[in-house]
């Protein structure tokens, strides 16, 4: 019969951490079981190719996604829907919808850096998003995605225009092609 009690090892842990773990364990059961559980999860994370520290760092992203009212949909399905809606409804209605949604997100984040950071983390279909200030009144935005269809690229560029509009910038040129958005903006006077 397997006797796990005979197969234990003593591990040297940093004193302050060992104390903290002991404190937490008191609320959960035994220290041995708690340590056991922690180590099992660490091994599980390793086997899934996850880095524990990065996983915990990314917890804010999941919170941010919930807060921002984002939902998941199959990529292919979404692009299909967009193509259909684009043909049937015409560009204007959909572009307005994306623009208005962008304005909502611009107000929601109310900060360009925060928007850039969160968008990069949440919208995994985007290969690159870069917003750089050219001078105090002008900025350039580059967004690349090898997955975007032509219609979706156009709509996403409207979304980005909406975000920037809410943050006080107006479009000042640029180009949009399948999977590539390059836009320039200038600050609205008085802001």
């Amino acid at each position: 019969m397997k006797n796990t009690y005979l197969k234990r090892k003593m591990l040297a842990a940093r004193s302050d951490l060992a104390d903290r773990i002991s404190e937490i364990a008191v609320r959960r059961g035994t220290l041995y079981d708690y340590v056991n559980d922690i180590l099992e999860q660490a091994i599980r994370a390793d086997s899934m190719g996850l880095n524990l520290s990065e996983v915990l760092d990314d917890m804010w992203v999941l919170k941010a996604a919930r807060g921002a009212g984002l939902t998941f949909v199959s990529e292919k399905l979404l692009y299909d829907l967009v193509e259909k809606a684009y043909r049937r409804l015409g560009k204007k209605e959909l572009q307005d919808l994306w623009y208005e949604t962008g304005q909502w997100y611009g107000r929601y984040y109310s900060d360009l850096d925060k928007f850039e950071e969160t968008t990069k983390k949440l919208l995994t279909e985007i290969s690159d998003l870069k917003i750089s200030k050219d001078d105090k009144d002008r900025l350039s935005l580059t967004c690349l995605s090898s997955k975007f269809t032509e219609a979706y690229t156009e709509l996403f560029s409207k979304f980005l225009e909406g975000v920037l509009d809410a943050l006080g910038y107006v479009k000042d040129g640029g180009e949009v092609a399948k999977g590539m958005i390059n836009l320039r903006f200038r600050k609205l006077k008085g802001l």
């Binding site: 090892k9 004193s15 060992a18 056991n36 996983v55 915990l56 984002l70 949909v73 199959s74 979404l78």
Partner: protein, 193 residues
């Protein structure tokens, strides 16, 4: 002055886990001590977030299913509006596509998780489907699934119903009975012979 971070204390752990940790530390090019320190630090951090490491990893594991399926994030309002527009003319086609997508998810869950029905339930609860409540009741070969949402439109409720039916089909279940209203889905399945 004593440096608390350099003092050490001994903790007991199962031998087999220690061996696996040692292997992982070697793979990651870390010393056993620094790897253990990192793990314990993250366990404390998780506790301070009012979660356990298991809950956090479970959550990532479930969200990874979306990633594998090529799902992307989109504002709920935009999705609802496009579906609403497309549904009037293409409702049947959309239902079919959602059902096929569900079949893909079902097949994937079946291959990745020991209990695919439980994994589907977790995916629905935690996978940002805008559901407030997901309950699964099992009775021998039968599964009853109930989803409640205050956010789902009627069209998206119907499509989610088709998605769930598709997923359960891939897991070897057929729908026996179902009800779907705006924001409420109730389905009963039995295992196919």
């Amino acid at each position: 002055m004593s440096d608390v971070s350099k003092e050490k204390k001994l903790i007991r752990a199962p031998d087999d886990l220690v061996s696996k940790l040692n292997e992982a530390a070697n793979r990651q090019g870390k010393t056993f001590y620094s790897y253990l320190t990192e793990i314990l630090e993250q366990a404390v951090r998780a506790y301070e977030m009012k979660r356990s490491l298991k809950e956090i990893i479970d959550h990532f594991e479930i969200l990874e299913v979306h990633e594998k399926a090529g799902a992307i994030s989109i504002p709920r309002e935009v999705l609802d509006r496009i579906i609403n527009k497309a549904y009037h003319e293409d409702g049947g086609v959309l239902q079919q596509i959602w059902s096929q997508t569900g079949r893909w998810y079902g097949t994937y869950l079946n291959s990745k998780f020991d209990d695919a029905v439980e994994a589907l339930s977790r995916l629905l609860k935690e996978g940002r489907w805008d559901l407030n409540e997901v309950t699964v009741k099992r009775n021998k070969e039968q599964v009853e699934l109930r989803c409640v949402s205050t956010l789902l439109s009627e069209e998206r409720s119907i499509l989610l119903e088709k998605f769930v039916e598709g997923a359960m089909h891939s897991m070897g279940y057929k729908a026996e009975e179902g009800e779907c209203f705006r924001g409420i889905i109730r389905l009963r399945f039995s295992r196919r012979a």
